[in-house]
Structures are given as C-alpha cells and as structure tokens.
C-alpha cells in the first residue's frame, strides 16, 4: 500500500510544465527561440496596452559565443516602456509558474502570463542561467533582479537584487537560452514584421544576432480603445466553473473558536469589556453593515442562540437546518446536542440562510453573469425547472450538472458583451495594409461582434490587390488577438475559408497578386494546439470569416471589373489606333486619291471615350 501511495505525490506546476514543455511550443531550439521571442514581446505589448501607453518595444537577440555553430546559447532581451512591475511582485511574477495578472475575462494576447515564465523555465533548464528583470514603475528607481526558479517547489530564488536611479519607467526581461537562430531567423523577422502590421501604434525594433537592425516605427498615433474586464457569459462556462462561482458566493459557517470570538469582540470594540447578550446585540445593531461579514454571521448565530461570549465559548455549532428553521449545537457543559428555533421574521434569518446556502438562483445569475436581467433569470429558472429562489448552495452535484447543461441550452440570453474585445479597427488596419503592401486596391471590413460557446469574437479582414504585391496569391496573413500566426497554417480555419472561395467568380484568375489579412479577436481563441498557431474551425467563426471574405471579394470583383473595363477601353483604343490608319491607307489607293483621308477626328473620338471609362472607375478605386 505504502509504495503505491508514494506514486501519487503532488507535482508543482513548474514540474508539470518542465515535463510537458513541448505543449507550450518549446519543443526544439528553433521553435523555442521563436516562442520565447513571441511570449516576451507579447507580454510587453499587453502591459503597454493595459495602461494605454504607446508601446516602444526593443527586441535584442545576441549569441553568447558567435563562433559556435547553431544550436547555441543566445541572450534574448525584450525592453518596453510599459508600467513596469512593482518590485515586491517581480520575484513571484517571474519565478512562479501560473502567477499572473491576466486572469480576468478580456481580450489579451496571452491568457495568464504563463508563456513568459515558460520561456524563463526553458532558458534555465537549457543554460542554467537566471532571468534578469529590470523594472521601474515610477521612472526614477529601477529594481534589478536575477532570479532562478525552484522547479520542485514552484518558488522563486532571488540570486541578486539591486536598485539604481534611472529616467524612465518600463520593464526589461533578459534570458539566456539554447536556440537556433539560423533556422528560426526567418520566422522571427516575419513575426516582428507582421506584429508591426497588426500593432500599428507600436514601434518595434529588432537587433538580430548577425548585426541586422529592423525598425518598424509606429504609423498610427492612437491606441484602439482598451477592452474592459467582464463577467462570464452563461454559454461560456462549465460545471467546474459554476462550482467555483458558487463557492465564491457561499460563505462557510465560521468555526467559532477562541480566536474567532476574540476577533468578534475586537470588531465590536469589546476587547476589554464584557456585555450582556442584549448589550452585545445592541452594539452590533449600531455598527450594522460596518462589521465584517464573518463577524455579522457570528452575531446572527448569537441572536438565535441568545448567548453571550462566555456561553458561546462552551458550544460548537452542529448544523443550520434552514428548511426546518432549526439551529443545532453541541453543548460541552451538558455534553449533549441541543437545538433552537430560528425566527424567519428575524433580520438575521436571511443573512444566515444566505451565508449557508448561497444566493437564490436568480440573484446568482444576475450578479455573477454578464447581461442577465431579473426577467431573463426567472425565464431561465422556468426553462431549467428550478425554483427561482432556489439557493445555489443547496444544489446537489446532479443539479449542478443540470444547471450547467441548461445554461448552455437556454437560448434567450443576450449575445455576449463584446466590450471585452479590442479589435484594431478598420481604419488602422487599412492604413497598415496600404503601407505594408502598397497595393492598387484595398478594402477592409470589421464584422459586428458574434459569439461561439459564450465567447464573444470579432472578425476583421482586409484584402489588397496589385501594386507591389507578388503574384501567386492569395497570400494569407493570419492574426489572432493581435498576434501573427506563422506556423501550421495548413490546418487553420482561415486558410480553409480562403481556399473554399471560388476566386474565378470574383474575376480573380491565375496566380493573382493579392493579399488577405485576417484578424480574429476573442476572449478565447479556439486554438487547435497549445502552441497557439492555428485556429480551429468553429462553425460560428467560420461563418463570420466567410461573410467577411465574401463582402471583400465582392468589392474586389467590382474593382477587377472596372479594371477590366479600363483595360478593355485601352485595348479598344489601341485597336482603332492600329487599324484605322490601315483602312485609310487601303481606301486611298482604292479611291484613286493621293492624299490620305483625315481620320484623326474619329481616332480622337475613341480616345476620349476610353478615357471616360477610366475616369469613371477612379472613385471606386479610392474607396
């Protein structure tokens, strides 16, 4: 028995990720270097976004020993001008897995700040070097830490800590990791390039290990409106989530021991003074809501027990039987179980039942979920065959499962709140497309918010044709929550939608020079893998992508047919210029004349006509 028991040792999150690091995109030196860059850059951008700071991100990759062949150790540094991290949280934030500031429900590049610590963990296990974090929140003092992770205990080990004076706030994270830049370089440069397309308000600089400098200055001065943190949508949760939300809403009956009694006395200002039962009640009524919740619960119990502190010290609460309105306790003095009736009219009754059994279902729904009003909550209770006043704390496991299933099935909830989303906006997107691809034609669309499984999402898409775009298109640039997706494009839903399109119908033929930029924003992108590189084909997302693409394709088709008409008009005008002089030549000899007829007039006429066609097309081209 004992040997089996040993196998069930709990492992720390650090250990778990240590043994499963390939899940998070740290499978080999090439991919790991790329993933580490991504995680640190995205953390920097997220930090700036949250505080509404125009980001200046500086990415530096340096080989420890440039002469060594790849794979080899690299020092990867990412500096930002963000808010920095308070020095007392730095060790925890960079030395613990699953410690993060991003647990709220809103759109961000990363979910839990997990990726950055994974990168640090990977760096430590490949080079055994600490992460160097320099942080300043006030722009005056900078804290510099060298931190190692205690993998087994999931705790930071501070190797060094010093402070110095500086002139601006921000965070700099530097890790030393095994990587392969000769293989990962293309992807990293693509990543930086594409990130600057989807983050046009950021200036991103990249110094690569070969001495190359890539600078992408911001070309938009406004940060898109930041997302707000919101409560979950009923469609977006499962049983486990409900259970946790109920626990939050239920307050356990405090264990009334000496310490607790001491605390209550202190809260009532009776540390050194004894009062009778009625005196205590009087004092409590006066203090009312100013008292902490725990204390209020004890007072409520006392009100039914009709006991002062001395008596309270000699009992233990056994049960609060709400249906029978009985409160039972064990009396140490008499060594027996006793019970008292609870008066449902009493002001303390509600408070106590609330505490024990949680909120009524309707209150739970309106208070804990987004966009659920009392009417909807009652309707839902009917639908799920729960009494509206049913207290969530009294639900059995079976009832919880039924509640969870019913929440999924009930269709009268309002669509998820999209204020937690932060799309880039059509205007900056189009500006970026024009700047990056310099096309003859471009169009963008931002679809209205939609939702899958309770998670809101917005599709933004752009299309560009001609100009400096290479042929062989469509070239698809995929983004999710302002992150470029570079790997595994074959199995991505965006690719699927683009490939399904019948481009011939939109007058796009052969190997056209055109580009599609797709941006999916959501509180949860349904990635197919933990590596976050390809989006799964949820029908709702696929549908929105299709609609966006169709709309843009129709615009492209209109442009193409105008372009075709202009070309035709030009061709026609060329035809006249070629053939009319020949006709003139032949008929001159036929008619026995010496001088050719003056055919210039009709040539001018056709030239004017073809110009007209071209001009008519122009306004559409500029749209």
């Amino acid at each position: 028995m004992s040997s089996i028991k040993e196998k069930f040792n709990q492992i720390s999150p650090s250990e778990f990720f240590y043994s499963n690091r390939d899940l998070a995109g740290f499978s080999n030196p090439t991919r790991s270097l790329y993933t580490a860059v991504r995680e640190l850059v995205e953390n920097a951008l997220d930090a700036c976004d949250q505080k509404g700071i125009l980001p200046d991100v500086h990415l530096i990759i340096k080989a420890v020993d440039p002469e060594k062949p790849d794979p080899k150790p690299y020092i990867l540094t990412v500096k930002d001008n963000g808010p920095g991290i308070d020095s007392k949280y730095v060790p925890l934030a960079f030395g613990t897995i699953l410690y993060g500031s991003k647990f709220g429900l809103k759109q961000a590049r990363g979910m839990f700040g997990l990726g950055a610590t994974m990168a640090i963990l990977y760096a430590q296990i490949t080079t055994n070097k600490p992460v160097i974090v320099k942080s300043s929140t006030d722009g005056k003092i900078q804290d510099e830490f060298e931190i190692l992770l205690d993998i087994q205990k999931n705790k930071p080990i501070i190797v060094k800590h010093k402070t110095k004076e500086i002139s601006k706030s921000g965070l700099s994270v530097s890790i030393c990791l095994e990587g392969d830049y000769s293989k990962a370089g293309t992807k990293i440069r693509d990543y930086v390039y594409e990130t600057s397309l989807i983050t046009p308000y950021a200036t991103i600089t990249f110094d690569d290990p070969k001495g190359g400098k890539f600078r992408h200055p911001r070309f938009v001065k406004d940060i898109p409106p930041p997302p707000t943190i919101i409560r979950p949508h009923p469609h977006g949760i499962d049983v486990e989530r409900i259970r946790r939300m109920i626990v939050e809403s239920v307050f356990e009956i405090p264990n009334i021991d000496d310490a607790m009694i001491e605390k209550v006395r202190k809260d009532l200002g009776l540390s050194k003074k004894n009062l009778s039962f009625t005196g205590i009640m009087e004092r409590a009524r006066k203090r009312g809501k100013a008292l902490p919740r725990q204390t209020r619960v004890v007072i409520a119990l006392m009100s039914f027990l009709k006991m002062d502190f001395e008596k309270l010290n000699k009992i233990r609460i056994e049960d609060i039987d709400v249906p029978n309105k009985k409160l039972s306790y064990w009396d140490f003095g008499d060594s027996q179980s006793k019970s008292v009736d609870m008066d449902p009219e009493s002001q303390y009754y509600n408070q106590l039942t609330h505490t024990v059994q949680g909120e009524p279902l309707t209150t739970f729904l309106t208070k804990r979920f987004q966009r659920v009003g009392p009417t909807t909550a009652i309707k839902f209770a009917e639908f799920a065959k729960f009494k509206p006043e049913k207290r969530v704390g009294t639900m059995t496991n079976q009832e919880l499962v039924h509640l969870s299933n019913s929440l999924q099935k009930f269709e009268d909830f309002m669509a998820p709140d999209s204020s937690c989303l932060a799309p880039l906006g059509a205007e900056p997107l189009e500006k970026g497309i024009k700047k990056f691809f310099n096309p003859d034609f471009s169009a963008v669309v931002q679809r209205p918010a939609s939702a899958y499984s309770g998670f809101p999402f917005i599709i933004e898409m752009g299309i560009a044709y001609g100009g400096e775009i290479k042929s062989g298109g469509p070239h698809v640039y995929r983004f999710a929550n302002r992150i470029p997706l570079l790997y595994d494009e074959g199995s991505d839903v965006v690719l699927k939608v683009v490939n399904d399109a019948d481009w011939g119908r939109y007058k796009v033929k052969g190997e056209p020079p055109f580009v599609i930029v797709s941006h999916i924003c959501s509180t949860r992108i349904p990635y197919k893998t933990a590596g976050k590189e390809n989006v799964a084909d949820r029908p709702e997302i696929e549908r929105e992508l299709r609609l966006a693409l169709q709309l843009l394709s129709r615009k492209l088709a209109a442009y193409m047919s105008k372009r075709g008409q202009a070309e035709m008009a030009k061709k026609r005008s060329n035809l006249y210029a070629k053939y009319i002089p020949m006709i003139a030549e032949f008929c001159t000899e036929l008619a026995g004349k010496k001088k050719e007829p003056n055919y210039k007039k009709i040539l001018e006429e056709v030239t004017i006509e073809s110009k007209k066609t071209v001009e008519e097309e122009k306004p559409i081209e500029n749209k």
């Binding site: 035809l575 032949f586 000899e589 036929l590 008619a591 026995g592 007829p597």
Partner: protein
C-alpha cells in the same frame, strides 16, 4: 472571221475588267469620304448564314436571301475583319489593274507584307468570299484563283488575254497530258471548236484513259477532268463552253452518292457559292455511274459506309433531289447499300468503259 470574234471577245474582257475596277473604286471612295468627314465607315454585306440560303427554282440554284449584316469600323469586334476586307479589295484592285493572278494561298501569304493579319488561310478564304458576296462577282473576276487540279483536253482554240500572251492562240489537243485549268485558261477567249459535246469525268485516271482511247476524236468531244468536286474555275469554264460555244455537257462520276453530288454541283451550284450566279450549267447531264447501272451492268461493288448512307438521307432533304433521276438513284443506292467506282468496268476489260458504256450513255444523254 476568227479575228473579228477574238477582238469582240477581248473587248468584252476589257469591259469586265473596267466594271470590276469601277466597283472597287466606288467602294473605296465611299469609305474615304466617311473617314475624311469623321464618320466611321460601314457597309452592308449579304448574310451567308444557313438561314439566309434559299433555293431559287427559277434559277435552279441556291441563292442568298434578303438578310444582310452591317459591318462597321466603329465596332471594335469587327475592326479587324473590316481592315482585312479593305486590304483584300485594295489588293484585288492591284491584281485586276495589273492583270496579275493570285491563288487563295498566295493571298494569305501576301497579306503579311502589308501587316494585315490572318489567323490561317481559312480566315483569308472567308474574307475572299465576303468580297464576292458584296460585289456579287466570283473571285476569278478579281484574279484570284484556286490551286489548279483540274484539266482539259480536246480540239478547242483559245486566245489568251493575260498580259504577255494577249492575242496568242492555242489548241487544247496539242499536248497529250491535257492542260491545267488555271487563270490564263479561264480568262482566255474561247475562239472555236470542232467538238460537239463536253464530257466531264471525276477522275484523273479515266481522263488519261479517255485521251489514250481518243475519245475526243471518236465522239467529237472536249474532255474535262474535274478532279473530284469541280473547282469554281472549272465550273466557270464548263458554263462558258456551254453558253458561248453551245456545247452540251455530260458528267461521268463514280457510282456513289458523292459522285451524284459532284454532278449536281456542276449543274446547279453549291450552297457555299449561293452568293454567286455565274457558276452553274443547269443543262448539264449526269449520265453515270448510276445506282441502276450497278445492277444493269453487274458491276463489282463495295458496301456503302455509314456516312455514305447518312449523306443519301441528307441529300434527299435537298429540294434539288426531290424528283427525277436524282431521287430515283438515291433511292436505289439506299436499297442496294452498295456503290461502284468508274474503274469497276475494268473487270470486263480495260476498254470496256470506252467501248461499250460511254457510247450508250452519250446516246442516252440526248434523250435526257
């Protein structure tokens, strides 16, 4: 007397040339004026689509109906063919003026020197037909001839009208291989002949045999090899022999449905040339080989192919095959489902056809 006739004929030829040149000039002048006045030139052209080809009982040939199409230089889709046609008129004008001859193929190649593009010869051939349709004149009038493949032999004196040979005469029995029916012969004046009949045969082999057997002398005839379907120059010549010299024309073909149609085209023209009137010899007579001859002369036969049979049914729908021997023979072909070649007579000896069959047929033709 010979000379005066020749002069008269020569005058006629000059007249014809003048007509052609005037017609071309007037067309050219109209287009010149249009261009000079800032108008897109255009002209109408008789439609040659199947729906516009009708059979004229009076003329006993196919003619074009009244439908016509407008061709305009303003229509960019027609600009190219408009230019091609203008060039052709221009080139025909030169040919006619300078009395030079050209062939269909030669026209196709000549176009390249003027940067006028034709996709292939069939495109240029088609434009030539357009010119014929507009002017109602055969291409030979514009000095454009098909490649030569048919020939003539017999006692016939001609006088050339082509440059360099004007006034020169020739007797067409001087050379035992016969004479190719080319531009110079087609445009020559037919002076006189001792012949009393024209025998047109479908095949070169039989043509040579007839010369060897001196059919020209034995039957006082002019022998013509049509080389399969008779080219238009040959049909023009046949018509002139009939009209100008008053000679009856008989036709000998293979004993099959195609042979029957070769005879019909000489007699009443083809749908392809419905825009032209001067190409038929309505009095020409098909004398064999008939389907009934196959049984009568017990000729060796081969079975008809499926396309032969289909052709029979097609021709039966043609009004010209609606009665007389034309319908009767087609019906017999369809009954027999067998056909015979002219050479089939060789089974009974090489001269069987000239000794026995031909005399009978010439006799028969008088009563047809």
């Amino acid at each position: 007397m010979k000379i005066s006739k020749s002069k008269e004929l020569s005058k006629k030829a000059k007249e014809k040339q003048k007509n052609v040149l005037e017609m071309l000039k007037s067309h050219g002048a109209r287009i010149y004026d249009d261009l000079d006045n800032g108008r897109f030139p255009k002209f109408s052209i008789p439609s040659r689509s199947v729906s516009n080809i009708v059979y004229d009982k009076k003329l006993r040939q196919y003619i074009l109906g009244s439908n016509s199409a407008l061709r305009s230089a303003k229509n960019s889709a027609q600009l190219r063919s408009f230019t091609q046609l203008m060039w052709l008129a221009f080139f025909a004008n030169r040919l006619t003026q300078e009395k030079k001859s050209s062939t269909l193929r030669d026209i196709y190649y000549s176009s390249q020197a003027f940067a006028v593009e034709f996709e292939d010869q069939s495109e240029s051939d088609n434009i030539i037909v357009d010119l014929e349709a507009i002017s109602s004149k055969p291409r030979e009038d514009f000095h454009i001839f098909p490649e030569e493949r048919s020939s003539i032999f017999g006692d016939l004196n001609i006088e050339y009208t082509i440059p360099g040979y004007e006034g020169k005469t020739m007797n067409l029995s001087n050379h035992p291989d016969g004479y190719a029916i080319g531009p110079s012969l087609t445009t020559a004046e037919l002076v006189d002949t001792s012949a009393e009949i024209v025998i047109a045969v479908e095949k070169g082999g039989l043509f040579t045999r007839f010369i060897e057997e001196q059919i020209d002398k034995k039957f006082k005839s002019i022998i013509i090899n049509t080389g399969g379907q008779a080219p238009r120059s040959t049909r023009t010549l046949l018509k002139r022999l009939h009209d100008e010299l008053g000679l009856p024309v008989i036709i000998l073909t293979d004993g099959d449905v195609y042979g029957e149609h070769i005879a019909m085209v000489i007699k009443s023209g083809s749908a392809n040339a419905a825009h032209l009137r001067e190409l038929t010899v309505p009095d020409a007579k098909w004398v064999g080989v008939w389907a009934t001859d196959i049984e009568k002369y017990k000729l060796p036969t081969i079975p008809m192919t499926e396309s032969d049979i289909k052709r029979c049914h097609d021709l039966l729908k043609d009004p010209r095959y609606g009665g007389g021997i034309w319908k009767k023979e087609l019906d017999v072909f369809l009954r027999l489902k067998r056909k015979a070649e002219l050479e089939a007579f060789s089974k009974y000896g090489l001269t069987n056809i000239t000794d026995k069959y031909l005399p009978q047929k010439i006799e028969l033709a008088k009563s047809l």
